[in-house]
């Protein structure tokens, strides 16, 4: 049974994805909307607090990606201190983010999404979950669970706790990496690689076969993509330049001004959802909307920079073009990013400096406004703080990944509704529910429903007639 968890007053997240499908006079789908009741009052809660607390406060926004908020907060803090952090601190933070990407993508792919692919959309919903997968394919399921544990273990060894490790701080990190921990993580790498490569093989086979239609049609539309890129346009997750490309791969903006991000990005507000719609200002709310996250990161980069991941990236581009526009390929992108993360983790662990002990720079408040940007598993995350001369927060704005994919999620749901509701229909079929759920899941949105690991996403779908009357409503708990 689904539960709605209200955490008051810091976060208020609705446990249901509410979707309304609007029919026109002819009975055909006019549009569909994905509604979110999101955090409220969060910004006000931070006002008057020392900026040094922001990492811990924001890490508690989300139980799935606390590490991402921690890193964005720490990076914003670095800028308020106006320090260059010790080189090893940056490497350790990178390690933390890679571990987070690995565990979060593993959760999304193996626990939440793969039961759909491997057991079939129309299989018994009660068994279409990780437990059903364990019964059907124990090796893959266990590998996936262990892969997630690998990421969590690395986070724990770095930060001391699996979640909410307030280990990254303004100026660096709290504690160095212990050589014993480094060796323990290294020892787990071969199995992590094996699981990822096996899952890639398996999933690509499905894409060429039973999932071919979904792969080419699910949320397939041109849009802009945004993400960080490193030196020479390499795949990046922690630092670097913010690049924005159009669906042809043309670079619209090579280095968006991160510290003055509000000059480049604006956030549109709609009365029917709490989730804002960020967009690229020069192009306006519709044409300027963009996608972020695993697929966006792979689309904006030239290459990944490590051998095995680059081979997979090449194959992805053969499959979907230089810029892959089908949202279904977020899944494949996640697997490729896990591979990239594992290769990067291996390189970092082999770095002779990685256990160096000078990990933190100290300073006072030297800048009164700063933006910290990093790539969360779900996409680019911005923390923007203004502080007074003593470092007390005056204003906070966070732009989260799920918000930036908001327009795309709405378009995906609309597309699925058009395909699955035949004109004149007044019924919300099980098939539609399943596809809508899968469509939203491509984006792995950061709602409590996306963590609902027992298979089904709690959904609330309403079919609305041309005059605003509700034709049918279905709840799935």
């Amino acid at each position: 049974m689904a539960r709605t968890i209200l955490i008051d007053p810091v976060t208020r997240i609705e446990g249901h994805a509410k979707i309304t499908i609007q029919l026109n006079e002819a009975g055909a789908v006019e549009g569909a909307r994905f509604h979110v009741v999101e955090y409220r009052g969060f910004e006000a809660f931070c006002e008057g607090r020392p900026f040094t607390e922001m990492a811990a406060i924001t890490a508690r926004i989300c139980g799935i990606c606390p590490v991402s908020h921690l890193l964005a907060a720490a990076k914003t803090g670095d800028r308020i201190l106006a320090v260059t952090i010790p080189p090893v601190a940056e490497k350790l933070r990178r390690l933390l983010n890679l571990a987070q990407i690995t565990q979060s993508h593993a959760l999304s792919f193996f626990h939440l999404s793969s039961p759909d692919f491997l057991l079939g959309w129309d299989s018994d919903p009660a068994k279409r979950n990780i437990f059903g997968l364990i019964a059907a394919d124990p090796e893959l399921a266990r590998g996936g669970i262990r892969l997630r544990q690998f990421g969590q273990d690395l986070i724990e060894r770095l930060g001391g706790r699996k979640i909410h490790a307030a280990w990254a701080v303004p100026g660096g990190v709290r504690t160095p990496l212990d050589p014993t921990d480094r060796d323990a993580i290294r020892a787990q790498l071969p199995q992590a690689f094996a699981t990822t490569l096996a899952a890639l093989q398996r999933f690509k086979g499905l894409l060429d076969g039973p999932l071919a239609t979904e792969a080419s049609t699910f949320g397939c539309f041109p849009s802009l993509f945004m993400g960080l890129v490193g030196a020479d346009g390499r795949w990046e997750h922690y630092d670097g330049q913010l690049r924005l490309i159009d669906p042809d791969g043309t670079v619209l903006a090579e280095a968006l001004p991160q510290q003055r991000i509000s000059e480049a990005l604006a956030e549109a507000v709609e009365p029917w959802t709490y989730l804002k719609f960020p967009y690229f200002k020069p192009l306006g709310p519709e044409a300027g909307s963009y996608r972020v996250g695993p697929l966006a990161r792979l689309n904006v980069c030239e290459r990944i920079g490590t051998e095995r991941a680059d081979a997979e990236l090449l194959e992805l581009r053969e499959r979907g073009g230089r810029v892959v526009t089908s949202s279904f390929h977020y899944h494949l992108a996640r697997l490729i990013e896990i591979l990239a993360a594992l290769e990067a983790i291996e390189l970092l662990l082999n770095d002779p400096e990685i256990c160096a002990t000078h990990v933190r720079a100290h300073a006072g408040v030297n800048a009164f406004e700063a933006v910290g940007v990093s790539e969360a598993p779900r996409g680019t995350l911005f923390h923007h703080y203004r502080v007074d001369a003593n470092g007390l927060i005056e204003a906070v704005n966070l732009i989260i990944a799920t918000g930036q994919n908001n327009r795309a999620m709405n378009r995906t749901v609309t597309q699925i509704a058009r395909q699955w509701i035949t004109p004149g229909a007044t019924e919300i079929s099980e098939g539609l529910l399943n596809r809508v759920e899968a469509g939203i899941r491509c984006f792995d949105p950061c709602l409590s429903c996306s963590t609902h690991a027992a298979g089904q996403m709690p959904l609330h779908v309403q079919l609305i007639g041309p005059n605003g009357e509700m034709l049918q409503e279905r709840w799935r708990q």
Binding site: G48, T52, A56, R60, A166, P170
Partner: protein, 238 residues
């Protein structure tokens, strides 16, 4: 040295005149929870956590301030006292804003420890959520009034041990709070020597080192006792 004999939880005890009930109880291994008390500072009996029952007296007495007396029969752990102590802790939590998860003192906080000891798993009293400021004007240290329990350890250590008397208590009732100087920002008070003793003795995350983030304050208030003893022997001046 004259001696007083009394009974604490049924143990017969003999103590020098002037010994407090708290010291006597600790001497014989009977624990009594405290917060405002700190060895090396004068007692003020502000927190009321150490209240004990004395037979023949209808009033509960603070062990940290009450001297032993001949023939006293003292109980330190009755159901009534247990309930009082839990209520005291609940009042401290609900009166301020204690968000342990983000606090500098999380995991190293005397208030937290006492809450665990008295079995406070939730508060039976409503939270007041007062609107209180944070003072970060001092170059090294910060004061978060949201976490202050008005134990006055900082006031006493600054006055009695450091001799600077930066801190005082201002206003009354629910408006009562610790003030620096003549109610100025801490950083504006010239008398402050930046010694950090107040931060060290503060039982909570109210006073902290600005470089510390969540859970990083590891103060050791017991060091004050050692300092004061050493000073008495003329071994240390600071």
């Amino acid at each position: 040295m004259s001696v007083r004999t009394l009974s604490i939880n049924g143990h017969a005890v003999a103590m020098a005149t002037g010994t407090t009930l708290l010291a006597a109880a600790r001497e014989v291994g009977v624990p009594i929870p405290t917060l405002c008390h700190l060895e090396g500072l004068s007692p003020v009996a502000a927190c009321r956590l150490c209240l004990v029952e004395i037979e023949g007296s209808g009033k509960l007495q603070p062990a940290c301030l009450t001297p032993v007396a001949e023939g006293m029969v003292v109980h330190t752990d009755t159901p009534r006292l247990q309930d009082y102590r839990r209520t005291v802790i609940e009042m401290l939590f609900t009166e301020g804003n204690h968000v342990c998860a983000i606090c500098v003192a999380n995991g190293h906080c005397e208030l937290q420890d006492r809450a665990v000891e008295v079995g406070m798993d939730h508060s039976r009293l409503p939270y007041r959520h007062p609107d209180r400021p944070v003072d970060l004007s001092h170059p090294l240290f910060g004061l978060d009034h949201n976490r202050c329990i008005l134990c006055t350890r900082c006031v006493r250590v600054c006055d009695e041990v450091e001799g600077a008397h930066v801190w005082d208590v201002g206003w009354r009732g629910e408006h009562c709070r610790i003030i620096a100087g003549l109610n100025e920002p801490w950083g504006a008070v010239d008398a402050c020597t930046d010694c950090g003793k107040c931060v060290q003795v503060c039982p909570t995350g109210a006073l902290f080192d600005k470089a510390d983030t969540t859970g990083e304050k590891h103060a050791d208030p017991a060091r004050l006792g050692a300092l004061v003893r050493a000073r008495a022997r003329g071994q240390q001046t600071r």
